[in-house]
Amino acid sequence: MDSTARRFEDNARTALDSPTLQAALAKLADGFPRRRREAAERLPEFEELRDAARAIKEHVLDHLDLYLETFERRVTENGGEVHWCRDAQEARETILDICRRVGARTVTKSKTMIGEEIAINDYLEENGIRPVETDLGEYIIQLRREPPSHIIAPAIHLSLGEVAETFRKSHTHLAPERALNEPDALLAEARAKLRPDFLTADVGITGANMLIAETGSNVLVTNEGNADLTHTLPRVHIVIASIEKIVPTLEDATTVLRVLARSATGQDVTVYTSFCSGPRRPGDPDGPDEYHVVLLDNGRARLLETEFRDILRCIRCGACLNHCPVYRAVGGHAYGWVYSGPMGAVLIPALLGTHEARHLPNASTLCGRCESVCPMRIPLPRMLRAWRERLHRERRTGWLARIGLAAWAFVAARPRLYRRLTAPLVRALGNLAGARRRFRVLPFLGGWTATRDFPAPEGETFMTLWAESDRGRTKP
């Protein structure tokens, strides 16, 4: 998809002005954090599990080449094939080649963020192949031709009414009197519509929550069971995954799974956890004839040597989104691309460049709540600041802000000058405010006073009063 990250400010204003979006976000902020907290409290070793999960991914990043090669060997031994793709275009072409070779007309899909990252649906459509999303949330936004607004709850920005309206527009066979005002009714309608696609699809594309090196398996977690139908029914199963999804062993995978569901939805474990290890073997009751893993780099290997390496530990649980005050205020679409929230604000500049994403690392209060809930203990605020450092170095921050900071630093490093400049200003403002003790409007502070009163200073600075006091006169 095309990015609108550079229009973050406009996107955010639109989001803040949408009552339905605000209602959806309020619900999300009320539900997800509470469920995560309760799940964590139910498990006495949750903090130790976070450390263990973090250590697994750290170890993998230290030896990424080794584990990726092991994984490829195992997949090949299992009768599958690994395709190494440097960028989105290579991944798209690889997938299209496979689809064309097997004469695919319909492709079912189960949630893959990498699929969004490489915009595979658009590409397949342009080439005459029909992709069908089978995760309910993904299906809804596919009908609306929208990107996901949340990495695990892609349609979280929509109200039930909006979903019903979307269904009526697309499912033209629906009788007008058919009630669609309950989640169950929507689910039943989607299920009925999707069932024939599951049965006729030639290729199933899934993402991967993890790739296991020792077995050559990919791990998928869902709550709807659609992933199982996507990878067992079609003749060909294509897994799209980025290179950092690897873990060494099955045991390691289960450790990560234990923190993943709890951090994401507050579940102890997701309803379905599938392990796929290759094509159907002789004697297997079901499974695809072909099994492909499209391994995507798309700039990630480059991050290993940078201060942004830690973001490669991310397991896409969405906890940082759910706890972020900025995400809570503007939702996922404001970020303008596939990812959002704190992990998105760190990842998007890495994948699309700072020229496109300069707002995202800046649009954060650095409140630190994301890091405090991240199951992989990713120092997200530190990396947001590191991006700001880069943006400053690349002179992508506004000239006014740069000059302002330099002037401020010049003065702040000279305490006597600082006091000579600030004391009269503070005194004047204190006098001007009068008994109301606040301003409704202040020049140069329009950003603040458009929506907030500005508190008046008391009048004299502390340093002035202290210097005038007995204490101040006798002390250095």
Binding site: A329, A363, L366, G368, R369, R385, L405, A409, G447, E458
Partner: protein
């Protein structure tokens, strides 16, 4: 990470880092801090060569300017047993980020680390270092406490202000469900992205209203100015004060942004 602090002297020499917002906006908080520290047996001095901790530059990715300002602060406060600031954000800047800021500077890194190790946020210093368990203060009010992000997550300031507030005669404390949620101030964020900042502040002010409190307390002037500014614009009459004012029993001065 800062080394463990040296053993506490009987009557330690404390350098008060007033912070720029307290200095310019609300000197009463500075005097309240002096009173609390002296009541807790400290000898308090206010070095005159102090201005700001450098956080605005640091959070803007401007390390060079942040370091320029930080060097002045380090030099000014080195002679003290402790550095105490009535702000979790500024204390966190010194304690957590100064060592990062000077990590690659062989001359200043040890000085930054040494200062970091003896720097504290005011209320946690009183409780955790000085062992204060109660204050002699009185205020008839129903208050709710806002946990500022840096103090809470960088320095672990949470129970200390509540423990002392519980000993203020006449004061009832009501917890907001969103007490630990950011207020949307975020330093320069609030003027760079004012719409988003206000959206975040609205969650906070709605939560304050839901508690029914007539007084909002917190430990950081930035947050308090933001919350007070939004409350006033919304027509709320809830008063906003720095927690040190209440604990030091100096509440004669009008609340932040009036009432």
């Amino acid at each position: 990470m800062p080394a463990s602090p040296p053993p506490a002297p009987i009557s330690p020499k404390v350098g008060l880092f007033v912070t720029c917002l307290v200095d310019l906006m609300r000197p009463s908080v500075g005097f309240a801090a002096v009173k609390l520290l002296e009541d807790a047996g400290c000898r308090v001095e206010v070095p005159s060569a102090q201005t700001c901790c450098g956080q605005p530059a640091w959070n803007s990715g401007d390390s060079a300017d942040a370091a320029t300002v930080a060097r002045g602060l380090i030099a000014a406060f080195e002679p003290f047993d402790y550095v105490v600031a009535p702000s979790g954000s500024c204390a966190g800047m010194i304690r957590v980020h100064y060592p990062e800021l000077f990590a690659d500077d062989p001359d200043w890194a040890p000085r930054a680390r040494a200062l970091a190790a003896k720097t504290h946020e005011l209320i946690s210093f009183l409780v955790d270092v000085r062992g204060l368990t109660r204050v002699a203060a009185r205020l008839a009010a129903t208050a709710t406490y806002h946990d500022s992000c840096s103090g809470l997550r960088e320095l672990g300031v949470k129970r200390q202000p509540r423990a002392l507030l519980a000993t203020v005669a006449g004061l009832e404390l009501r917890e907001g469900r969103e007490a630990e949620t950011c207020c949307g101030f975020g330093g320069l964020f609030c003027v760079k992205y004012p719409d988003v900042s206000t959206g975040i502040a609205d969650v906070k002010t709605a939560d304050i209203a839901a508690t029914g409190a007539d007084l909002v307390l917190g430990g950081d002037m930035g947050c308090l100015m933001n919350i007070a500014g939004r409350l006033r614009r919304q027509g709320s009459t809830a008063a906003v004060r720095h927690v040190a004012e209440v604990l030091a029993d100096v509440t004669a001065v009008p609340p932040i942004a009036g009432t």
